[in-house]
Structures are given as C-alpha cells and as structure tokens.
Symmetry: none
Subunit: 408 residues, 2 copies
C-alpha cells in the first residue's frame, strides 16, 4: 500500500488559533485519487522539530504533502529545515526571484528585502510556480519519498496542488481512480436519513459514508474503479427514490461543491430568469451566497418592520396572524421584483429573533412572487443566530428550487 502523509507547519495551527483546513482539503483530494493517507502531523516554528519530522516521514512514507512555512518572515523555516534534514544547502533560484519581484512590480510596489529569502530553494529541488502569491513551492525526493512543499495560504495551496502536484501524483502513484458520488439533501435530519435508506443493500465494491453538514446532510458512495456503471446508476436511483424531494443534488467528483444556490442558479440561467431578494434574518447571506451571479439583480436587508415599511412604502403595521405575515412577505417580494424589474421576487420575513445575545426559535415567512403567481411558506428555525441566518437562507432557496422544478 502506498503511504501518503500530510505535514502542516505553523505555530498558529499548534496553538489552536487557526483550524487546519488545508489538511482536510488535501486528504479529501487524495482519497478521491484512490490514495491512502496514513498520518497528519503538525509542527510549529521550531526548526529542530521540523528537521526531525521531515527525517521521520522520509523513512516512513512514499509521498508527503507539506503546507506552510514558506513566507518571508523569520518564523518561516521550511526551506532551511529541508536543507538541514536532507543535507541540501539552499541556493538562489533566479527564476523564483524574478517571479517574486514581478509580483510586487505588478502591484506597483518595490519588493521588500525580506521576500528575497523566498527564492532560496534546497539544491536539487524542483520549483513549483505559484500563480497567485509570492512564495513558490518546491518538490524533491529523499530516500524514496516524494515531498511537495506548498504555501499555507489556502487558495495558493490549492492552485499549486492542482497545477503542479496532482499531475505528478497521478503518474507516480497510479492507483486506480475511484469514483465518488455525493447525494445532497436538505430538510432531513441525520436519523431520518438513516431510517429511509436502511432497506438499501450496499454491494461489494461500494463504500457508504455520511456527512452531516450545515448546508444539508450528505450520502457519499465511493465506487471501486471496476464497479459496473449500470449497477452504480441503479444504486443511486434507489437512494433518490427513498429520499424523494429532499435530494437537491447528485454530484460526482468534479462538481462535489455544488450547493443549493448553484442548483437554483443553473435553473434560473437555463430559463433566462432574474431574481430580486428581500432579506431580514438572513441579513446578506443570500446575496453573499450568490456572489457574482448575473441573475441576482438586487437584494435588500431590513432590520425591522419600521425599515421594511419605509422600504416598501407602506405604513408600519404589526402583524398578528400567520396569514397577515404571509401577505406582507408577498407584498415585499412584489416590491423588490418591481423595483429591480426582475422576473422573480423572493422575500423572507423573520424579526422575532433578531436579538444580540441568546436567540430564540423563530417563525420565518418566505414568499415567492412571479408575474403571475404569489406563494408563501411558513417554517421554523432555531439555534444560534448565525445558524438561523444560514438555515433560513437555505430554506428560502430550497423553496425556490422546488418551485422551479415543479414549474418546469
């Protein structure tokens, strides 16, 4: 078995100030490539510790992905530690230096002297170009273990992995690619999900997993490379039948980050429709989740009924019944729709739990208005204010998703 390890470097990880999301992202990618991760290690800014762990890993593993410690500051010690651990003195990589200088030139700034050290790479190391930051990565082999060193900044790390490391790994460790299918649901609790699918037999060659996530619970099916495709499709169909309308997405490796916002967005684009939104409890969450999407024309956040009355141009009136709240939500959706000249208007009203402190469980009124239809929904939401914000936004878009599906 090929053994891959992950090494994270950074005092901020060891001291608990930052949660290491790089390691879990890399693990996830490696598992999809059919590789096995045997160990994660995190060390801080102590060169001795770093030298020791590099030597250990070189003996133990076939491949190691390292993140962090490539910055310009004195506590960025990775290259020095590699030089010491594997007796590969640092030397200036002139291409790297030119890239770093170019990065600053592009920003109209002179390169600070401290950044020069980022161009010092261990002898025999291969430079891995960083297209979105100053520090290049590098790779080298020692006692049969292939090491890839990447910066700790997540988007730089991901870009380097995708462009420079994944291709090497696919060639060096030709494990057969398993295929992962993720079935994403909204609105079902973890035990409901379990109960609904317990009658489905999982054949050999398939590994079943669950993931409880704030954006909906997921079922993960990892198929061996030689698992017949027809049987895989049949199994996926069984899950979809058992789970019904709560399934909002069935994705494979390439689209596994698909959210309910993406699903709704695709449908809106296909139908050439635009949307305007009125937010209360969701307070910018809906707008933010639709970042850069051309179909979202505008979004308005109103803190309370007074602001809402000002915005939609009507007198402030306390609402005493669910029916009155639903009507107000529909009116609000129509106002944002008209103002933006969008096809759809979506409004979600919930004011009773907007208290800084311990939030109560609240009722949310969601309305969706088109040129010809107006519908509304009543839901409950609880938990921390941040959770209520996210859950309410998901609920609003899930309502929109089901409407789009039913009115196809």
């Amino acid at each position: 078995m090929i053994k891959i390890e992950i090494l994270s470097q950074g005092e901020e990880l060891l001291t608990g100030q930052v949660v290491d999301t790089n390691a879990s992202w890399l693990s996830d990618e490696l598992v999809r490539m059919g590789l096995t991760i045997t160990r994660h290690t995190t060390v801080g800014d102590d060169k001795g510790d770093l030298v020791a762990v590099l030597k250990e890993i070189a003996v133990r593993a076939d491949g190691c992905l390292c993140t962090g410690g490539l910055g310009p500051t004195v506590d960025d010690l990775t290259a020095e530690a590699v030089a010491e651990a594997f007796a590969l003195p640092l030397k200036l990589d002139t291409t790297a230096l030119a890239q770093i200088e170019g990065f600053f030139e592009h920003r109209g700034q002179p390169m600070p002297a401290s950044n020069r050290k980022q161009a010092l790479l261990p002898t025999t190391a291969t430079r891995l170009d960083n297209l979105c930051g100053t520090a290049p990565g590098f790779s080298l082999e020692h006692t049969g273990c292939w090491f890839g060193f990447m910066p700790g900044v997540p988007y730089e790390m991901k870009q380097l992995f995708n462009n420079a490391i994944r291709p090497v790994f696919l060639q060096r460790f030709p494990e057969r690619l398993k295929s992962l299918v993720i079935i994403k649901t909204l609105g079902l609790g973890e035990s409901d999900l379990q109960d609904r699918i317990q009658s489905i037999a999982i054949p050999n060659g398939v590994r079943l997993g669950f993931l409880t996530a704030p954006e909906g619970n997921q079922i993960k099916l990892l198929f061996d490379a030689d698992f017949p495709q027809g049987r895989a499709q049949g199994l996926i169909a069984d899950f979809k039948n058992q789970l019904g309308a709560s399934v909002f997405s069935v994705t494979d490796d390439r689209s596994y980050q698909q959210t309910v916002y993406d699903v709704v967005g695709e449908q809106l684009i296909n139908k050439g429709l635009t949307l305007a939104v009125l937010e209360t409890l969701t307070q910018g969450e809906i707008a933010s989740q639709c970042l850069g999407k051309p179909w979202l024309l505008s979004a308005v956040y109103c803190q309370d009924l007074i602001q809402l009355a000002r915005f939609i141009g009507m007198d402030y009136l306390a609402k005493n019944s669910d029916k009155a709240w639903c009507q107000l939500a529909q009116n609000s959706a129509e106002v944002v729709r008209r103002k933006a000249k969008s096809d759809y208007g979506l409004a979600q009203l919930c004011f009773n739990n907007k208290i800084d402190g311990s939030p109560a469980r609240g009722t949310i009124y969601t309305a969706l208005v088109t040129a010809t239809t107006a519908i509304s929904f009543i839901d409950q939401v609880g938990g921390s204010l941040r959770r209520q914000q996210r859950q309410s936004a998901l609920k609003a878009f899930d309502r929109l998703r089901i409407f789009l599906q039913e009115n196809n």
Copy 2:
C-alpha cells in the same frame, strides 16, 4: 521546556471528512495554561500505526492528550493499541462497566453487548469518569510521559479535559500562566509589517509571532507570567507607534476574536449612532458581518449601475472619472441614509469586476455620509471574487473606523 503533544485518532479525520476541532480547542487551552505544544499527530483506524505513534510520543514528550478511538465499534482501537504499545494488558474495570450500564439504564435501554469493551482499560491505567457519554477516559504514565485518553465527541472531550485533566496538568506542569496580546492590523502586507517593526528589540520573556489572516495581519506577543506589566505596556506602545493607524485592535486572551466590525460596532454603540449601507462588490458581506447588530438598520445590494439608478432614483449615467464615481458613491450613501433615517450612510461602488469567472483587479469607490459631512475614498482590490468581496468590506469598515476615531 515541557513538551506536550496532541494525538487525534479517527479515519474520518485522516480522510478529510471531519475537520479536527478537538485539537485546536485543546491547543488553545494548553497555551493559556502556559504550556507549549510541540506536535499534533493524526492517525486512522490502523492499530499498527497507533502503536507506533504512541511509542514515539512516549519517548519524545512529557505529556500527551489523545482523543478518539474509545467507542464501542471494532474500529475503536485506542485501548488495545495502548495495551500493546506499553505492554499493559486490558482488564475489566467494574466501576466503568457499572457506569456504562447506568448510562443505558437512564435512557431506558439495555446495554448493547458491544459497549462492554469500553470498560476494558489497560492495567495500571487510571479511569477518568465521563459524565456525559458512555466511554470513560483513562490516563497512565509511560517512560516519564503522562498520557490522557479522551473520547472524540467534542463535548465529552471538553468535559473530561476540564474535570479530570486540567487539574492534573496544573499540578504536574506548574508553568505559570502566560499572557497573550494580539495586535491586529488592516491594510499592511506581511512584509510591510515585518519591515516596520524590525527596529523593535524583543526582550527575554516575550515571544513574538505573526499571523496572516484574511481579516488583517496580526502580531502576537506572548509574555511570561513574571514579565513586568509596565514593560509589557511599553513594548505594546512601541508596536502601535511603528504601525500607526493600521492597528485596529489590541486584544488580550479574552477578546482575541475581535474583528474590525466589532471595533466599529462598539464605537457606534458608544456614540448612539446608526448606519445604512449600499453594497455592490461586497454583495451582502457587510450586512452578514454585522449579523444581529442593532446599529445596522438596512443594507442594499445593487448588481450594476442600472439597478443602482433604479434604487437611488436617478437616470443611468456611465461614470468616466474618479471624481464622478466618488460623487455617485456619496449620492448613493446619502440616499440609503435618508431612506433608513440612519445617522451614517456608507456606500461602496465597484462594478467593473463583477464577472463570473476570472475576476480582474478593480477600483472601489467608498463614500461615507453623515448629516454634516460627505467624504470618499478610492482603493484598489484584486484576487478571486470572494477575496475581493471580503477585502472591500473590510476596507469600507476600516475607513469608517478611522473616521469615527478622528471625529471622536
């Protein structure tokens, strides 16, 4: 120096399915106790790996906190691995068994047979009672290293640490509580920061660290318990002098999560001021960062100039100069301010990089309007659309922060 390590056990951590928040929580607690964490290791459900890492740690460290692998299923191997690594055969702990039986009895269920194994502890181990789950923890010493084993369920782990491990650690490792001060900055790159403070001499008894974070770069000063407070204040003042207005927060242990939004919010509350916002590129980020804050009355997102013209009630006009853009931003800020009847209006205009795909570097026009003043600022923002969104929102609030400070 006392060396403490953390060992996390669980296949779901190694495969990236679950992010290890236990390790960062424990680290944070230990740092506040004045202890130094030298390494985190994560291994999966392989007994051989677990035995190997336990042996390594026993030689290397003075203390080790272990989480996970104490459950009832076959992949929970920690106790067996400890037994093998340290030659301490498992034996039934009758008190533990009674506790586990009691846990199920309390729920009106018979104890499943599989749970009996949770009462098997290595000979010479001390049981650590678990007050909120089935699995007891245990502790033992081997070659001078004290090991504490806890369940992986976060709230069970925290309860065990607080009740059973913290008191032991305080006695066994009587390090004195250090104090951590974090100086947070906005608008300075990592190397700028480094260059500005390089003239400051760091005395013995103080450890200097850096943290690059999307919400601003941070300087961390960890003071030994006996470091004179007057000298600490002097050193902090030196840093503030060198860094100038870019410092938005100087926090201690208890408030280290303070953001620029919190700092602005405190000032608005102290002055009894309210705010309305117009967002473009930030698209809900500002509203969302101010979740539940009573001083944010409303926020509007407009996708483009057409939507903005509709919202502020003026004809669409392309803007060809920075001056015209700044004027439009001020007009927009005044419209949201008037509409919401808030004290301040904040508008930030940036439309040229709202393209789904690879975003360009763009110019942002930020305007702040009060009853008596209207000011505007021009900044540049680059990177991914998500980064631009967050950076623009931070920039807008940083401008507001500096205005509030100067007009105190």
